[in-house]
């Protein structure tokens, strides 16, 4: 039985061969992709892998630390504008993307200091308000192009590779996203990630283990901001124009929908959600003007059947299956997520608080 919350120690015991095979497949697919889908579809796939990175960065907050930020668009947009400015000065690509990461990270750090004492709903509202304030500000700044934004962004050639070739832009995009994904994988499986998970599970317990929970939340927020900045920076190159839309609150909401769809407790959850939602949006916006309705219905359906997202499907199925095998008894609390081995002697959890209901020897 494998727990979905593998972030942490469980992953160390996971067999490496299937993981390596999976990554190899992804790598081969990424190389062959321009030939497979054709250059006209590449733009869609470029923005999709950017969404994968963005959603994964948001998952460090929501899944990793239960830090409900509704303002990640601010850092995504900051990265996009940073690259737009750098590109207009013909900065080399690595430097421009580094600028995006640094600017977004710095902005996230400042935000985390402003929101230092807030948690839960108050934190969510504050992040939303800060992001919207930044949006309003940028719209009024003329050197950032106001509502029209900054058009005509081109990718300067890098080490003799020119990016007018769409396949090359795809490779640049994919390599940068892969680096970002690797960083988030390491962070989520590091001692820091484990500590962040413990704060998610019970901040009071974590504090009484000596963990400065506010500082850890702030660092996680900053790292997630860097990831959003890289995603936004890549988007600027791919889209060739940056508008204030990249800072708007819907831009914060999209990755949240993606990671709810895919599964908030899984490393690959946001990636799956991002691919699915991007594909759906791409199809639905051409087919109907009511696409938001369908997206909403889909999200609702998924969350009713699989509250932990699409990746929890195996656990949901195995839970249903084992529930069918066991003569339906009184399995109440443990059955909810299907993780407790059925019939295990520790299945029943005593109500917290009192000691007088313990079974006799």
């Amino acid at each position: 039985m494998s727990s979905p919350r593998t972030a942490g120690l469980a992953v160390l015991r996971r067999p490496r061969a299937p993981a390596a095979a999976g990554l190899l497949t992804l790598g081969v697919l990424a190389i062959a992709w321009p030939q497979l889908v054709g250059s006209s579809a590449l733009f869609f796939w470029e923005t999709t892998v950017i969404a994968v990175l963005f959603a994964t960065s948001v998952n460090l907050l929501f899944g990793g630390g239960r830090i409900p930020s509704f303002g990640q668009a601010a850092f995504y947009g900051a990265g996009a504008y940073a690259v737009a400015e750098a590109a207009s000065r013909s900065w080399p690509v690595p430097l421009a993307l580094l600028l995006a990461v640094v600017v977004a990270g710095a902005l996230a750090m400042v935000t985390s200091l402003i929101t230092w004492r807030a948690a839960g709903l108050a934190f969510a509202m504050l992040t939303l308000a800060i992001a919207q304030a930044i949006y309003t500000l940028v719209v009024q700044v003329s050197w950032l192009g106001g509502y029209n934004g900054i058009p005509g962004i081109s990718v300067p050639a890098l080490a003799g590779i020119n990016f007018y070739n769409p396949a090359n832009l795809w490779y640049l995009d994919v390599v940068c996203v892969a680096i970002g994904m690797l960083v988030f994988w390491r962070v989520m499986h590091s001692p820091f990630g484990h500590t962040l998970n413990s704060i998610r599970e019970d901040p009071v317990r974590a504090a009484f283990l000596g963990v400065n929970i506010r500082a850890y939340r702030a660092v996680a927020f900053t790292i997630a901001g860097c990831g959003a900045g890289l995603a936004g920076g890549l988007f600027a190159y791919v889209n060739q124009v940056v508008t204030p839309d990249s800072l708007y609150w819907t831009q914060s909401a999209t990755p949240i929908i993606m990671l709810l769809l895919g599964g908030i407790t899984y490393y690959w959850g946001p990636a799956v959600g991002a691919v699915l939602l991007s594909a759906l949006l791409n199809y639905l916006t051409q087919a109907t003007t009511n696409y938001l309705l369908y997206i909403g219905l889909l999200l609702l359906a998924v969350l009713i059947v699989m509250p932990r997202g699409l990746l929890s499907l195996p656990t949901v199925v195995s839970d249903l299956w084992s529930r069918g095998r066991v003569a339906s008894g009184s399995r109440s609390s443990g059955a909810r997520t299907g993780l407790v081995p059925v019939g295990s002697s520790t299945d029943t959890v005593a109500m917290p608080g009192e000691q007088d209901q313990e079974n006799p020897p």
Partner: protein, 256 residues
């Protein structure tokens, strides 16, 4: 200051919850290395006293000294490192979705400072080995891989003690450590606490409603009632006092 400072010194602490006086001018001195039990009826203020010592509650008046340091204004998470306080809660607080081993590993990395590392994976592997040693001591090895929320109340209590121990505390606060345990588990936990304490260098404070446990373990008792300290002393002396019998022991024995 000369000699060993007391492990805990609470001076004139008042703690009020929305008008409800949970601690009313409480003063208490606990010498270093003692195994000390706080007893008293429900609502006496025992847990609140632990909360004030550990940093969960900031007293409205008075000061709290641990190991000779005024910690009244030191945040809870800093007290863990600064003066070596570790606590287990009355209702065990654990990380429910993590495995039992991961719970203890979280405590290990919090204690050894490697929690700040966000790139290397190895410290977590080391922590899991240290965690297994602690689980061994508390006979939790058979459930090490289970999600913590699947544990019985008694096992949760022991898990929390395991997490407290890997912090290598000098002051251990155990709020009703045997609550929810079977008689066998209770006996084992009493032995465990005695074993840990007899290794030396550790002051243990515990609250307990089970008088058997209290008289088995404690060197000294403090009796609380309605936010006041009624008296402190040797178990035998306390047992003989009529006022204690009346407010606490009598009622407890009647109930049992």
């Amino acid at each position: 200051m000369s000699g060993d400072p007391s492990a805990v010194e609470v001076r004139g602490v008042v703690k009020r919850f929305a008008g409800n006086l949970a601690l009313d001018d409480v003063s208490l001195v606990i010498p270093a290395g003692q195994l000390h039990a706080i007893i008293g009826p429900n609502g006496a203020g025992k847990s609140t006293l632990f909360g004030v010592i550990a940093g969960e509650h900031r007293p409205d008046r008075g000061t709290v000294w641990v190991a000779g340091r005024d910690v009244t204004r030191i945040a809870a998470h800093r007290r863990v490192r600064a003066v070596g306080v570790a606590r287990a809660f009355q209702v065990a607080r654990i990380f429910p979705e993590m495995s039992v081993r991961q719970n203890v590993a979280a405590a290990v990395i919090a204690a050894n400072g490697s929690a700040r590392q966000f790139w290397r994976v190895k410290p977590l592997r080391v922590a899991s080995v240290v965690a297994d040693e602690a689980l061994e001591r508390l006979s939790l090895v058979p459930v090490a891989g289970r999600p913590a929320r699947a544990l019985s109340q008694g096992d949760r209590k022991r898990l929390e003690i395991a997490m407290a121990l890997v912090l290598r505390p000098r002051l251990l606060l155990l709020d009703e450590p045997t609550a929810g345990m079977s008689p066998e588990e209770t006996a084992a936990t009493v032995e465990l606490i005695r074993g840990i304490w007899s290794l030396g260098g550790l002051t243990v404070m515990l609250t307990e409603h089970d008088m058997q446990v209290v008289f088995d373990l404690a060197q000294q008792l403090t009796v609380m009632d309605r936010g006041h300290v009624l008296c402190s002393g040797e178990p035998e002396t306390i047992r003989g006092r009529d006022d204690v019998r009346e407010i606490y022991l009598g009622r407890a024995h009647g109930a049992a």
